[in-house]
């Protein structure tokens, strides 16, 4: 029920929200605003940065073809990982939601388990698997294949697989939560009325799960856009993604204004892509209603 703010009860409710609001303001909004302000400063190697108002950092960013490909690769990795996470996560989430097994909690823990391992450890595992004379190479050599020609480290594929493995559990958990709230008697009713399993999925289950798909897609997409460890370790130094690029600018080049401009661009691109994805999924959802 809506509570007007300027009533005794409304004020009390606002007071309860104040600590969380203050935390968000101090820990998120304020640093973001500082970052935005820095992006208009001028870089100076001897003084770190000179306070001024200039668009030069953004001009350099848009003129430099290197950063065009950084943005392009970041969006493509994030987009493909998100779509793949939905495609691979949906059947698992569906099975988890439907199962009556007494081992259900074990399956859920098994799904969550990769989240308990840090990104660095997980990437190290992939390195041992994909690297030169790694598990995959040894396996291929065992089958008489030339392992060197299958070196997947420092490639687009390695980053994609590594990123997907990070985000897949998030997608499964979100979808499972939504699917468990769907009344599966609808599915049975559909089947009773002659709908094929494909029709049941595309016309009943998927449309009803779309809010979850939408939420999962947005979360996963944001995680992928901001991925640092996986592209850094599995993609190698030459791999172009936004988070490693802006980390390099801020901490190695010490070019804070340009790094801040990159961070602002990353935020803008993420927000725009998220809005577009949400709008597309909402429209798809409404067409089913």
């Amino acid at each position: 029920m809506y509570t007007p703010i300027f009533t005794k009860r409304g004020l009390r409710t606002s007071a309860l929200l104040a600590p969380a609001l203050a935390l968000v303001l101090i820990a998120l909004v304020l640093p973001t605003l500082i970052l935005v302000r820095y992006s208009f400063n001028k870089f100076d190697p001897s003084e770190l940065m000179i306070e001024t108002i200039t668009l030069q950092n953004y001009v350099n960013l848009f003129r430099n073809s290197y950063f065009h490909s950084v943005i392009g690769i970041t969006i493509s990795i994030a987009g493909l990982s998100t779509v793949s996470a939905i495609a691979l996560g949906f059947p698992v989430a569906y099975r988890l939601a439907r199962t009556q097994s007494r081992y259900k909690s074990v399956f859920v823990i098994a799904t969550v388990f990769p989240l308990l391992v840090g990104n660095v450890v997980r990437a190290a595992g992939w390195m041992a698997f994909l690297g030169h004379k790694g598990f995959l190479g040894v396996l291929l050599a065992w089958f008489g294949m030339e392992s060197d020609s299958f070196n997947l480290m420092n490639t687009w594929a390695a980053v994609f697989v590594g990123t997907l493995s990070v985000v897949l559990p998030f997608m499964i958990l979100i979808l499972q939560g939504v699917l468990e709230n769907i009344d599966f008697s609808l599915e049975e009713a559909g089947a009773n009325l002659g709908a094929s399993p494909f029709d049941v999925f595309t016309k009943i289950i998927f449309p009803l799960a779309l809010p979850g798909v939408s939420a999962g897609a947005v979360l996963v997409f944001i995680l992928c856009m901001n991925a640092y460890t996986t592209p850094f370790l599995l993609g190698g130094p030459a791999f172009k993604m936004m988070a490693p690029a802006l980390y390099q600018q801020i901490t190695v080049a010490m070019n804070w204004p340009f790094g801040a401009a990159l961070a602002v661009l990353l935020m803008i691109v993420t927000v725009i892509a998220t809005i577009i994805a949400s709008a597309v999924l909402r429209r798809a959802s409404s067409t089913y209603k």
């Binding site: 190697p45 001897s46 770190l48 390195m127 190698g236 130094p237 390099q248 600018q249 901490t251």
Partner: protein
């Protein structure tokens, strides 16, 4: 009892008082007030562990308690500068390499130090001393190679020869030192690394780049590469760890790397920080570090065992050829060289 003071007693007491005062006045400041925690911003892993093992007990005798703030140098530099801009410091001591230390000192983030503040500083090797930092350990850039895979090189320029094609590896985090070595091999000088550009683009197709020192070591271990550029101390550790490598100082001149410690201008425990720096330069701590970590002592009152010195040290002739970079040029050009490395060489 007489209260009269005779001449002898007066002179004796005056002398003792004067001696006491002069001792108090000339004693390092930290002797009076070096108490409490001293937050030391440093590298994690071995460096942090050895600081705890060899330095912390000595600093504790002066009342300074070692508290590590471990992390990478870029993050530490960023934090130090960000805090200094607001007259703050969450670290009391910071460790950095020579050029980074020079860069933050130029930005006014460090306190000046002297032999009066830190007595052991008088033992520091003169060529490594700076007004804003104490040298802790040092080594030099060498060519590390696997003799079973490549012939023994004698210069950086050798790496461009066909014998080494596809066997050269570079560590990405060493990008600036790789650039300097390439410049040295192709006519560059301490204030001009431009010749490195063409040279590195020439070798680009015949070399590999790894994200870190560890991944480079792994590539040497598996035989994916046969030669790289690395600090002699680390090459010593790699060989000790079973990687089949040897090392040689390039004829163009080895680039020294000095790990230094400085005190942030706004440190909350300056006496404690000075005590910590003094402990780092202590002969016993220096010997411990050299033995365990493979870096050379920066003080003149430590003698290493001959076998260790043979593996870690540089000969007189190699020292005379040390490459002294222009630190100001290095720091001013760092951003541009990083962009070139990322966008042109790797891109």
């Amino acid at each position: 009892m007489s209260n009269a003071i005779d001449r002898r007693t007066f002179l004796t007491n005056s002398g003792l008082a004067a001696l006491g005062y002069s001792t108090w006045a000339t004693a390092p400041n930290f002797a009076n007030a070096a108490t409490g925690n001293v937050v030391v911003g440093t590298w994690g892993g071995d460096y942090e562990n050895f600081l705890k093992q060899y330095v912390a007990p000595i600093a504790a005798k002066d009342g300074a308690v070692f508290v590590a703030a471990a992390g990478g140098e870029p993050a530490r530099e960023t934090k130090l500068l960000a805090e200094a801009k607001r007259s703050l410091a969450s670290m009391d001591v910071v460790s950095m390499t020579t050029e980074t230390m020079a860069s933050v000192a130029e930005k006014g983030a460090l306190l000046e130090i002297s032999d009066q503040d830190i007595p052991n500083l008088k033992h520091a090797l003169p060529q490594l001393k700076r007004p804003y930092s104490a040298p802790h350990i040092y080594s030099g850039l060498v060519i590390v190679f696997n003799p079973k895979l490549v012939p023994k090189p004698s210069s950086y320029a050798d790496l461009w020869k066909d014998d080494y094609a596809s066997k050269v590896g570079f560590a990405d985090n060493m990008f600036y030192y790789n650039i300097i070595a390439a410049a040295q091999a192709h006519g560059g000088n301490p204030s001009d690394y431009e010749p490195a550009k063409k040279a590195l683009l020439d070798i680009k197709k015949r070399s590999k780049v790894y994200p870190s020192n560890e991944t480079t070591a792994n590539a040497l271990h598996t035989g994916e590469i046969g030669v790289t550029l690395m600090w002699r101390a680390r090459a010593f550790q790699w060989a000790k760890g079973g990687i089949p490598v040897e090392n040689v100082a390039a004829s163009e001149g080895a680039l020294p790397i000095v790990f230094e410690f400085g005190i942030p201008k706004f440190s909350k425990n300056i006496p404690g920080a000075k005590a910590m720096l003094n402990a780092m330069l202590d002969a016993e701590a220096q010997r411990g570090f050299a033995t365990a970590m493979g870096y050379l002592p920066t003080v003149d009152n430590v003698e290493l065992p001959s076998d260790l010195r043979e593996k870690l040290d540089f000969s007189e002739e190699e020292r005379s050829r040390f490459f002294s970079p222009d630190l100001q040029y290095m720091n001013r050009q760092r951003a541009e060289w990083l962009n070139w490395w990322k966008q042109e060489f790797l891109g």
